[in-house]
Symmetry: C2
Subunit: 132 residues, 2 copies
């Protein structure tokens, strides 16, 4: 699992970490039960403070993606991923909504939009990085 941070991004570091770990799980490059680096070693690896890693891990745990064991370590949830609850779907829709509104303003038709979503879906499943 390679973590790549953009220090110029408007996204906080801990958010970039969360996004990349979730995508790693989605693509299968991180398997349930697999160990994640300790807060200290990952912090040292990518050159940030251990609290930044800890914040990302804590949020991932709250959402059910990972388990954190005191004095042991961090592991991708071996009991499987959290389900798509109604609360999740509502929050998801709230995040999709402004993106779709923008697309409509820019005259993107429904088929084009769905095609973009579909290709991103496939890219993630096949572990493809952002278009370089």
């Amino acid at each position: 699992m390679i973590i790549r941070l953009d220090m110029q991004s408007e996204l906080p570091i801990y958010t970039q970490l969360i996004n990349q770990i979730i995508e790693g799980i989605a693509s299968g490059s991180l398997q349930p039960g697999e160990d994640l680096p300790s807060v200290r070693s990952l912090a040292a690896d990518i050159g940030v403070n251990l609290h930044t890693i800890n914040k990302a891990y804590t949020l991932l745990k709250q959402e059910g993606y990972i388990q954190i064991h005191r004095q042991k370590g961090v592991v991708v949830n071996p009991d499987g991923m959290p389900p798509a609850t109604p609360e999740f779907e509502q929050k998801q829709a709230e995040q999709f909504r402004p993106l779709i509104a923008e697309a409509i303003c820019r005259s993107m038709d429904k088929a084009s939009l769905l095609q973009i979503v579909e290709s991103i879906y496939e890219d993630i499943l096949h572990g493809k990085k952002e278009n370089a």
Copy 2:
């Protein structure tokens, strides 16, 4: 055009404003050429500072959604909306990506995801608010 703010939201006020104005344009409730309230009157209406409104308007202008005329007022861009440039599509994909990765983790299949995007697309076109 009715603006509804959620002061408990994690989204900044100016971002909520931007989102609602863009959705207003997308749904057709705001037509090209239509006047928007002045920074002062809108600020007074919704109970925020005029600089907060000004920040939202300035960003909307930078993206081409509105025009701002000194000593006149603010208007939805009468020359039409900005096109879907490659830069826009790339930024759009970056924002879609983490949402789709989350959906994959939660075992949402491609058809379900596309169906959700499609229904939001239709909701916006028909001016429907969030599911109450």
